[in-house]
Symmetry: C2
Subunit: 241 residues, 2 copies
């Protein structure tokens, strides 16, 4: 039976053999939640990049651009990192170049994997169903905060673990058990639980509490972003008529 | 007010600025628990080393030697890593050279800190009282398992966090909160909680359940091992009459 394991930070990813595995890359607040939201609103392709300059270069090729640095929208870009900003008609059919502090890094460091899926609470069930179909060993890679362990990504890893363990996967390590127990402890009210977390406190100073509430909702979208040819595409996209 | 932070793996230690901090190095199963036990039985000095050869070299200089690799006693050494083996008269007044898989590494990587203390459940209260006296920012460095997050060291970090938060320290990060919540969830029966952990399962195959029970006892010894001039000494040693 396949296993479910958790990598709490991109700084630990060299300890894992990614070959033949399905990686779920997650940055709950907010990169992976916004990507999922953008696909839910019709985005055709998302290109994650590391540098602001690379992102602006793609604007000249007709991409919409999104950039956030330390929690706020970077100057000269179409979007920041709020999922609400993607709920506009222009998103439909678009290609969006997005750079984020932590999320892009987690994806790039996972490229040795068999498949990379973008996970968030918003598309939890869709991702879990896909992983069950694949029957590959799974590694949830938490983007963390500047390399550090963070609670929101770890809780998401615990949510994936809870569902996969119920569906026949085995626990890969202590990290899986730690994430699972944190999630089970917190799931009755994730928002309340996260009040004390450092990133949520940073975000509340930026007055984006609304974003946090949004990103913690489970199963809002049937969206499955996967990494293909240096881009993210939505395997659940509805074909254009 | 000083803060309490947690580093879940030596692989993450480069993310922390150790200068001016008190580090608590911990490898519950079993390096730090055995060191504390050795001091409780009168060891004068412990020299942690990385290589088996270095350890054997110190034997020629009159040291007792201890070495464990992957959970069992290495050949040609006086001790393995069971705390019970140190409960003999020869330990009193001795210098012990000890090499372990993960524990030595955590100490060596922490050398930029103002002070390094060896923590275990066995001397929890003594360590916490010392940290409260120091009033420095605290970082608990978990030895982990081959660089990976492990539950038993994280639970200990949570135990330290619980006590320091009650005594006026602030939470340094999400890692502190994660460790704290795992400990609060588990503390009613740590042994039962750890049944599912990977390291405990490895150790049970090696029939050292007795060691695990021993290492999870709280406040058995009033011992305070600190790092001084490349050696560990016990600040609570009773002067020889």
């Amino acid at each position: 039976m396949p296993s479910i394991d958790v990598c709490f930070s991109p700084e630990l990813i060299h300890l894992f053999d990614l070959r033949g595995k399905a990686v779920v890359a997650v940055d709950i607040l907010r990169a992976s939640s916004t990507m999922v939201t953008a696909f839910a609103h019709g985005a055709a392709t998302i290109i994650p990049v590391t540098q602001l300059e690379e992102c602006l270069g793609l604007a000249k090729q007709g991409c919409l651009t999104a950039a956030e640095r330390d929690g706020i929208k970077a100057e000269g870009f179409d979007f920041g990192n709020s999922p609400f900003s993607y709920m506009i008609p222009e998103v439909k059919g678009s290609t969006i170049a997005i750079t984020t502090t932590n999320g892009t890094r987690a994806i790039r460091l996972s490229e040795a994997a068999e498949e990379i899926v973008i996970g968030s609470f918003l598309n939890l069930e869709t991702v879990v169903n896909h992983l069950v179909e694949l029957q590959l060993d799974v590694l949830v890679v938490c983007a963390g905060w500047k390399g550090m362990f963070n609670l929101e990504d770890s809780l998401y890893a615990g949510a994936v673990a809870e569902q996969l363990l119920e569906r026949g996967f085995s626990s890969g390590s202590d990290a899986t058990l730690g994430a699972l127990h944190l999630y089970q402890n917190a799931k009755a009210d994730l928002f309340q639980y996260l009040q004390a977390s450092s990133h949520v406190q940073r975000m509340q100073r930026l007055e984006i509490t609304k974003d946090i509430h949004f990103c913690l909702q489970h199963n809002l979208y049937d969206v499955l972003p996967v990494w293909q040819n240096d881009k993210l595409v939505n395997l659940k996209a509805v074909p254009v008529a």
